[in-house]
């Protein structure tokens, strides 16, 4: 059984106990524990079930590489599934539950899959659920969905906050082990600005566990001294609990800082995503120990040898009283020696190599440990935990020579450098025969914009396997990075350790090497996804040659741990099955994030009311206070209508239309785009931007204009005013202001760079109010009378389609006599700072004239009654002005304008193009929006021929019937004809509508010209 030892644990503080619960059971650990250490300290070996076969799973590692021990962490608004216990810091009150079992962890019905495992090999789903097609949707998918999945999905909104932080530096050092610290010393001494990030909460990595001396001190003492020196350097920033998630182009690094995972609810952001720009990156990411593939290597109690050692040294936790060590390299002996020193029993060290001659093996023998070279594990005994092992010859087929009782197995299959950060941006790997691992190829580093390397590896991440080599390599890497980032060359010597002798490791991919099918079906490669040696071999037999295909076919390495333990072993097995060298097979692709990061960290502050910027006009608050029903228009929110108590939105809209036509309406038109175009060449430029002539517009006058894309399609429209000899003001649609501004700048900067024209977007400088209705002039004149404004608003002084500057009441105003409603109408622009006061003054003064604000739907109905088009309704990116009968607004005199040549293409001049007409239903009903009119016969696809579609459709309260506009084949030539619009609401009815003039109301414009 696993237990807390009476002594030891360099990372824990036994004076500070922490209480937590696992599956409701109260447990105790200490400050400094990981959840894994605390659970093991309480003899909780079984922590979850595997994904496919629901096999019992216990912790196998001690860090970020852990595939097995995932829990549902926290509850309610702090619930999060799939949290690795090895990287979760223990805190008081932590609660967690195990995953992927029913009804309980101890007794799981899903384990039946385990007994059916021989029928569920790789590709089972692909092969089984092929046909019939309907069965997939109704039978297979629901069942698979139900049985799949590890943790539960959170049901409550996240209580925590998150943020981003942008950091700029010269050198980023990823990893705070002794290699990272040695690199930081060198880079720091060069004077470069350095950021060192360590994913755990403690510095020094695993060197202190492995032992040795640096510069004549213990590793722990050296770490302390080095930290003190680094903390004293102003140019060095040290961060713990911060993992490098990914390395991207041009020295961009994402750092995932777990600020408050261990102090939930203390008001700090839970996670902070560091978005880092750096000149150089040093990856001091260490290495991950590989499991060995023997039968039963997934039974709880079988762990990585280094992890077994970590739990004893770091947290004072033993996995078992009797631990069998199985290894193919010298490092495994460290675990045997550590256990022995801690007073635990190591019945045997099984060394797969034919002889064990290294100094560590000798030390083990001297310590009285039985060492068996050339031996292997034939089988692990036990179900939910290890009870013993059968041993055999590594060279044989697995006949048991001896059975040894034990409650833990420590395995070491060699070490693989963590190459993720090196590989993210294209760093290449080489296969190191001696160490049987892939390591970074220093000659093929990731390169930046200048073709120079911007990532360098340090220490074990480079493939250095001894403390001495690690320190030398890491210090050199820090030195090189500091210099490459602009620091000065340094001469001060780096830290040193004594060279060690070691016996070469021997690659062991299957144990024993001649194991038959029965054993291979029990050798786990990917613990989380239940991929075994036999699955990869099957894939190879079925023709999967590419490692990427095999990965997807077998799901090897596709679990939440992304194959940190299984990758190399899996591709070695595949290579063997394919009869080719490992480098020929290659690796799968390393992609960010290194381990999963929270969505919260990615979203940062963008939640709730700051999810997205909302644009507000100066009168926005008034609209909200008035209870307006708001609709999004771009990022603006505009009032759709102002429903009064007891009124539906539809009733409100109808009231607003009638009141505006009969009395006085106010529209907040501030969102309308306003662009100033000025310069000696502005007239020429305006003539290019608009389809009609703008250069000859007289100062003081307004003209409606159309803008097209270079492909001729109608893009935007609005009223243009000539301000002075070389200045025009262009109104754009609300959604189009920024787009058209950018469009103008693009032409000026890329094509007509020598034209003397400047453009400024003054949309937000001005609040604009449309004062509309028969009483419009009266209310403005009343404001003038009240506050002595001087602007003459009479029909004579300010006729239709003109503008004037001056004072209206107390306000600095520019008034445009323009109308989008067909009524007497002024659009008044005032400085935005005065907008709200102007709006209030109009409402106040307008009371006696029946003033009511109106929203965007009323605006739409009034313009449709007048037959005015709306960008986005009548246009959809495929419509040209000619389709809309707007030929009058297309200059024939101009040599050129944007879209002119495109509009001469044969398809654009095709008389078969659908054209704009009005539509009135025979029964007065409202046509459905977007409805299609059908013609005779079918097209080549056997579909009914279409002859038109509705672009705008409303109930007109003015005319008391439905009105619509639409694009219809030969429409303008078919006035009076009735066409059919079948409904799609299931009623099987057809609506008949007569083609008519699109101007339904006051065709002669008598109402606006008063």
């Amino acid at each position: 059984m696993s237990t807390r030892l009476a002594q030891g644990g360099r990372l824990i503080d036994r004076s500070k106990p922490k209480n937590f619960t696992f599956n409701g059971k109260r447990m105790k650990g200490y400050e400094g524990d990981t959840l894994a250490a605390a659970l093991l300290g309480e003899d909780q070996m079984l922590m979850g079930r595997s994904f496919k076969y629901h096999r019992p799973r216990g912790v196998v590692a001690s860090g970020a590489e852990e595939p097995n021990a995932l829990v549902n962490l926290g509850q309610g608004e702090r619930f999060e599934p799939n949290q690795r216990v090895t990287t979760t810091e223990l805190f008081d009150g932590l609660t967690c539950t195990s995953q992927n079992h029913w009804p309980s962890l101890e007794f799981d019905v899903g384990v039946v899959n385990n007994y059916a495992a021989r029928f569920l090999p790789a590709g089972f789903y692909y092969k089984t659920f092929m046909a019939p097609a309907a069965a997939w949707k109704h039978v297979f998918e629901p069942i698979i969905r139900k049985s799949a999945g590890l943790g539960q999905v959170p049901t409550e909104a996240d209580a925590d906050r998150y943020e981003h932080y942008y950091h700029h530096t010269d050198v980023v050092i990823i990893g705070g082990g002794v290699a990272g610290l040695a690199s930081a010393l060198a880079a720091g001494r060069s004077g470069a600005k350095v950021l060192v990030m360590e994913q755990t909460h403690h510095w020094g990595g695993r060197a202190a566990v492995d032992g040795g001396e640096i510069d004549g001190q213990s590793v722990d003492a050296w770490i302390d001294a080095t930290l003190a020196e680094l903390e004293g350097m102003e140019n060095v920033t040290l961060r713990t609990r911060m993992m490098a998630s990914g390395v991207y182009d041009h020295g961009y690094v994402l750092g995932y800082e777990r600020v408050a995972d261990h102090t939930p609810g203390d008001g700090r952001p839970r996670h902070r995503l560091w978005r880092i720009r750096t000149k150089q990156i040093v990856t001091a990411t260490g290495a991950i120990e590989r499991p060995l593939s023997f039968a039963g290597n997934d039974i709880p109690g079988v762990m990585l040898a280094s992890a077994v050692r970590d739990y004893v040294v770091n947290w004072g936790v033993s996995i078992g009283d009797r631990t069998v060590v199985v290894t193919n390299n010298d490092d495994g002996y460290r675990t045997a020696l550590t256990l022995k020193e801690a007073g635990l029993v190591v019945p045997v060290v099984l060394d797969a190599r034919s002889e064990a001659t290294g100094p560590l093996a000798e030390a083990a023998r001297t310590a009285g440990i039985r060492v068996e070279p050339g031996r292997a594990i034939a089988k692990v005994h036990g179900g939910k935990r290890v009870t013993g092992v059968s041993i055999c010859l590594q060279a044989g087929e697995g006949s048991a020579l001896e059975e040894i009782k034990c409650d833990a197995v420590a395995m070491s299959g060699g070490w693989s450098p963590v190459v993720h950060m090196w590989s993210h941006c294209g760093g290449k790997l080489i296969w190191d025969e001696a160490q049987a691992h892939f390591r970074p190829d220093p000659n093929r580093a990731p390169t930046s914009h200048d073709g120079e390397a911007f990532v360098v590896t340090a220490g074990t991440a480079s493939g250095a396997m001894s403390l001495a080599e690690t320190l030398e390599d890491a210090y050199a890497a820090g030195k090189a990075a500091g210099k490459a980032a602009g620091g000065k060359a340094i001469r001060k010597a780096g830290p040193k350790a004594d060279a060690e002798e070691a016996q070469p490791m021997a690659p062991v991919w299957i144990m024993p090497q001649g194991a038959g099918p029965q054993k291979r079906m029990k050798m786990w490669l990917d613990y989380q996804n239940d991929v075994k040696v036999s699955d990869v071999q099957l894939a190879a037999r079925e023709g999967y040659e590419s490692v990427e295909h095999t990965k997807r076919y077998t799901t090897l390495g596709m679990a939440t741990d992304q194959g940190k333990l299984s990758n190399i072993n899996g591709l070695a097995v595949l290579s063997d099955a394919l009869g080719q060298e490992i480098p020929t097979t290659g690796t799968t692709t390393f992609r960010p994030p290194y381990t999963p990061i929270s969505f919260g960290a990615i979203a940062g502050e963008a939640r709730h009311e700051i999810f997205q910027p909302i644009r507000r006009t100066p009168m926005h608050q008034w609209h909200e206070d008035a209870g307006a029903y708001m609709e999004p228009v771009g990022h603006w929110r505009r009032p759709y209508c102002y429903a009064k108590p007891g009124e539906t939105n539809e009733q409100a809209v109808n009231r607003e239309v009638l009141n505006t036509r009969e009395n006085l309406g106010l529209l907040d038109a501030s969102t309308l785009g306003k662009l100033i175009v000025k310069g000696p060449d502005a007239g020429k430029f305006m003539d290019m931007m608009y389809t009609n002539m703008m250069s000859n517009l007289a100062v003081g006058k307004c003209r409606y204009g159309l803008m097209c894309s270079e492909n001729g399609f109608l893009s935007d429209d609005g009223v243009v005013a000539r301000i002075d000899e070389d200045t025009w003001l262009c109104h754009t649609t609300s959604g189009g202001a920024d787009r058209i501004h950018a469009w103008m700048e693009e032409w000026l900067q890329t094509e007509w760079w020598d034209w003397k024209v400047y453009v400024a977007n003054v949309t937000e400088q001005l609040a604009q109010v449309a004062v509309v209705g028969p009483n419009a002039r009266k209310v403005l004149e009343k404001l003038n009378a009240q506050a002595g404004g001087g602007m003459d608003l009479s029909a004579e002084a300010l006729p239709f389609m003109q503008w004037a500057d001056g004072k209206i009441g107390a306000f600095d105003a520019r008034a445009y006599r323009i109308s989008f409603s067909g009524e007497l109408s002024y659009e008044i622009a005032v400085p935005a700072s005065q907008g709200r006061a102007f709006w209030d003054a109009l409402l106040d003064a307008g009371e006696e004239f029946g003033v009511m604000p109106y929203g965007t739907e009323c605006l739409h109905i009034m313009r449709a009654e007048k037959g005015f088009i709306m960008i986005g309704d009548e246009t959809d990116g495929t419509v040209i002005p000619q389709d809309l009968g707007l030929n009058w607004a297309i200059s024939k005199k101009k040599d050129d304008f944007l879209g002119k040549r495109a509009q001469q293409r044969s398809h654009m001049t095709d008389p078969e193009r659908w054209k704009l007409v009005g539509l009135e239903t025979l029964d007065g009903s409202v046509l459905p929006d977007g409805a299609y009119a059908v013609g005779e016969g079918n097209n080549v696809h056997g579909q009914r021929n279409m002859i038109g579609r509705v672009t705008s459709t409303y109930y007109s309260p003015t005319l008391k019937k439905g009105i619509a506009m639409g694009l219809v084949l030969h429409g303008p030539d078919r006035m009076g004809e009735v066409i059919s619009f079948p409904t799609v609401d299931g009623s099987n009815t057809v609506i008949k509508a007569r083609i008519c003039d699109p101007v339904f109301y006051d065709k002669d414009g008598e109402k606006q010209n008063v």
């Binding site: 943020e163 008001g267 909302i614």
Partner: protein, 184 residues
Amino acid sequence: MSNAVSALQGASFDGYCKVEEAGLTGMITLRGDLASKGVAKAVKAVTGAAMPGQGEVTEGAKGRVGWMSPDELLLIVDHAEAAAIVEAATKSLGDEHSLVVNVSDARAVYRVKGASCREVIAKLTPADTSVMQPGMLRRTRIAQIPAAFYLEDDETAVLVCFRSVAQYAFDILKDAAQPGGEVF
């Protein structure tokens, strides 16, 4: 002008930095050839400030001048004087091709005050705030909106954004300045 109000009318928040809306601020966009003597003269005449170099903001008796792009300046002046300054600058520039336009009300202005003002802004902008000193100006973005900022002194950052997103800007600055969010 008693009717004139700024977007958030001086709203403020005390976090680990103080965030406050600066109220009405005069702002003028001047586009022209920044190398020309006429532009320098007009700028000097209306603000008293010298022409700023790239990424700089200069200060004169009547206002500040910030470099916004190779052909654009931002004049920061008294709000009540802005219209008159636009007129004066336009007149001073005469026939020289240029555009001077009052954008005072198109903007909202915030001050972030405190020893950590650079850090608070660094949560929102990809610009390197650590190298910013008084006299420098960055045109950049904060979270999802365009913005520019400069330092009035070592502990006061001034941040300019569009008026329509004034509330959003205030809210994200507040969020960034929340106690407990200290990075260092």
